[in-house]
């Protein structure tokens, strides 16, 4: 299917991406070509076919709920762009 520049902007908003106007046009062309190719899937009869999300069948991997050693707080915070002694810091959310 074709995808309009407006739809690209909507999807970009969902994905939390900012696109320049010039890029929107190009991306809608490229995505349109890819989606047109993907529409090929409609040639396959999939009525009564179960979808596959994982190729290897496994049931849930449960474990006992025990206390283990984990990353120390300082290590968990070590790559943060902004932090204080105990927390990740983000721009003010509530005015």
């Amino acid at each position: 299917m074709k995808i309009t520049p407006e739809e690209v902007i909507h999807v970009a908003n969902l994905a939390r991406l900012d696109l320049d106007e010039a890029v929107v046009e190009k991306v809608s062309h490229q995505m349109g070509a890819i989606l047109e190719y993907i529409d090929k899937l409609n040639e396959v009869d999939t009525s009564h076919v179960q979808p596959t999300t994982h190729a290897i069948f496994l049931t849930n991997a449960f474990r006992d709920d025990l206390v283990h050693e984990h990353l120390e707080r300082n290590q968990a915070l070590c790559n943060a762009p902004q932090r204080d002694e105990t927390c990740f810091l983000v721009p003010r959310i509530i005015g």
């Binding site: 991406l17 190729a55 721009p91």
Partner: protein, 488 residues
């Protein structure tokens, strides 16, 4: 022969006989990197001190006769596998300064085997691509022809092994990203069965398709590395609790009772280069001449694999990459005072164009109104593709095919046409959708002197059979002409 030119197995023998020390071997590899890196551009991060420290530890283990087949062996690691204290960028600006506080399970395993990690190698950003040109850090060149791409996304791993800048490497394969660069660089690469190798600490691209595997100079080395990295891991809930055989045990016997299947649909694939077709046909004849029986099989849904993949992989990616928002790690645009603006700006400035394209495609496929037509439909076609393989493996033990439709292509050739480059994944993508293992082994050269790989695929957990078939083939054709000439 210089130490850096050795296979893992040859180096192991010399280390064991004390003819060579791990420090000498590591220095030799580091010197080689200094000599050719400015032409190949395989490495993103090299930590010489760390490498030499590990080599000294390895020499200590060897002195006490406490060694494994990988003790003291210098390896390169694709830069999306977390290494504690060693920068891991995913070749993305968004993770340019990320230093993992923990090791991936495969790295823990390599470290306890006494290996030497030389550094982290280049790739397409977040493993999205088939040429390593989508790296946000640098462009890697194919050691066989520096104007060409090494393939991708594990292009740095393949180029480094091929150019003797390490003795072996780890890569990851989501749609062919180990096998295709191995083919383009004239080395061996194996994508294991989904769940054979732990993904803990592998930065996720498409979680139901990703798998870590080795890239090596020969088949024996591939078996050696598989012995170390395989096995169940409680930290990866999709890793399979199944015992691991000694893969070296498969490198013997003969191919007399092996039935090889030739998929009909792969022979008529669009864009298949005649040199590739000829090399693969010759390889099939060689394997037949060793006693294997060839049968034609059909994988009728082959032509839908690329379409299904480019819905499923971007969908999973769009979800996995939502975590890069400039809060816990990675790049943050500090000019933005509003939280939402900060998220959007950090992501838009941090991710490269191909990654953004795939996030958009995946977000679209999962969005309200399109989910059934795209994501659900593709997941149903995935079931059909799995059934094709199941039926084929009732008639044969392994499948033989090309790895890629063409040999390595010139850098820049497909820069603005993502669909064309997606279509070149046709022979490798199905194995990821079906979760089966696939191996690429060099089988010849194009008229222009570029390496061509043969792909061997098998049922789930048939890595031993793949290695056996590849090893017999390699014994028949020899590995003497596997070195590119890039000087020193």
């Amino acid at each position: 022969m210089k130490p850096y030119e050795l296979t893992i197995s040859q180096a192991h023998e010399r280390l064991k006989q004390k003819e060579l020390s791990a420090v000498e071997l590591t220095r030799s590899v580091l010197d080689r990197i200094h000599a050719v890196e400015n032409r190949v551009n395989a490495y993103i991060t090299i930590d010489e001190k760390l490498a030499l420290d590990q080599a000294e530890i390895a020499d200590g283990l060897i002195a006490r006769d406490n060694m494994t087949p990988l003790t003291g062996i210098p390896l390169a690691i694709k830069d999306l596998i977390c290494t504690k204290g060693l920068r891991t960028t995913c070749a993305s600006r968004i993770l340019e300064n990320f230093v993992p506080p923990y090791d991936a399970t495969v790295i823990e395993k390599l470290k306890s085997a006494g290996t030497v990690i030389v550094g982290k190698v280049n790739m397409d950003e977040f493993a999205m691509g088939s040429s390593t040109e989508n790296s946000g850090i640098k462009i890697t060149h194919n050691p066989w022809d520096l104007t060409r791409s090494p393939g991708g996304s594990s292009g740095g791993s393949a180029a480094a092994v091929s150019a003797d800048m390490c003795l072996g490497a780890l890569g990851s394969d989501t749609g062919g990203s180990i096998r295709q660069p191995a083919s383009h660089c004239g080395i061996v690469g194996l994508k294991p069965t989904y769940g054979r190798v732990s993904r803990y600490g592998l930065v996720a691209f498409a979680s139901s398709l990703d798998q870590i595997g080795p890239l090596t100079r020969d088949v024996r080395d591939c078996a050696v590395m598989m012995n170390v990295i395989s096995g169940h891991d409680a930290k990866d809930s999709t890793s399979v609790p199944k015992s691991v055989p000694n893969y070296l045990d498969f490198l013997n016997g003969d191919l007399k009772n092996t039935v090889v299947g030739i998929p009909r649909e792969y022979q008529s694939a669009r864009g298949l280069d005649s040199d590739v077709a000829d090399a693969v046909t010759n390889a099939i004849q060689t394997i037949e001449s060793m006693g294997a029986r060839c049968v034609e099989v059909s994988l009728p849904h082959t032509e839908y694999a690329v379409a299904a993949y480019y819905v499923i992989a971007p969908s999973e990616a769009s979800s996995n990459l939502a975590r890069y928002d400039g809060v816990k790690y990675g790049f943050r645009d500090r000019d933005k005072s509003d939280l939402l603006d900060m998220y959007r700006s950090s992501r838009s400035k941090g991710f490269g164009p191909e990654v953004q394209r795939r996030i958009l495609l995946g977000t679209f496929s999962l969005s309200s109104g399109y989910y059934d037509a795209y994501y659900r439909k593709a997941s149903q076609v995935r079931t059909r593709i799995m059934e094709d393989f199941k039926q084929a493996f009732e008639k044969c033990d392994v499948l033989l095919s090309p790895v890629a439709p063409t040999p390595a292509f010139p850098i820049g050739e497909n820069a603005d046409d993502p669909l064309t480059i997606y279509l070149s994944d046709i022979f490798t993508i199905s194995a990821n959708l079906a979760g089966i293992p696939g191996l690429s082994v060099p089988c010849g050269f194009s008229s222009g002197g570029l390496p061509i790989g043969l792909q061997i695929m098998g049922p789930h957990f048939s890595e031993g059979q793949l290695l056996k078939t590849a090893w017999h083939f390699e014994q028949a054709i020899g590995i003497q002409d596997r070195k590119p000439e890039i000087g020193s």
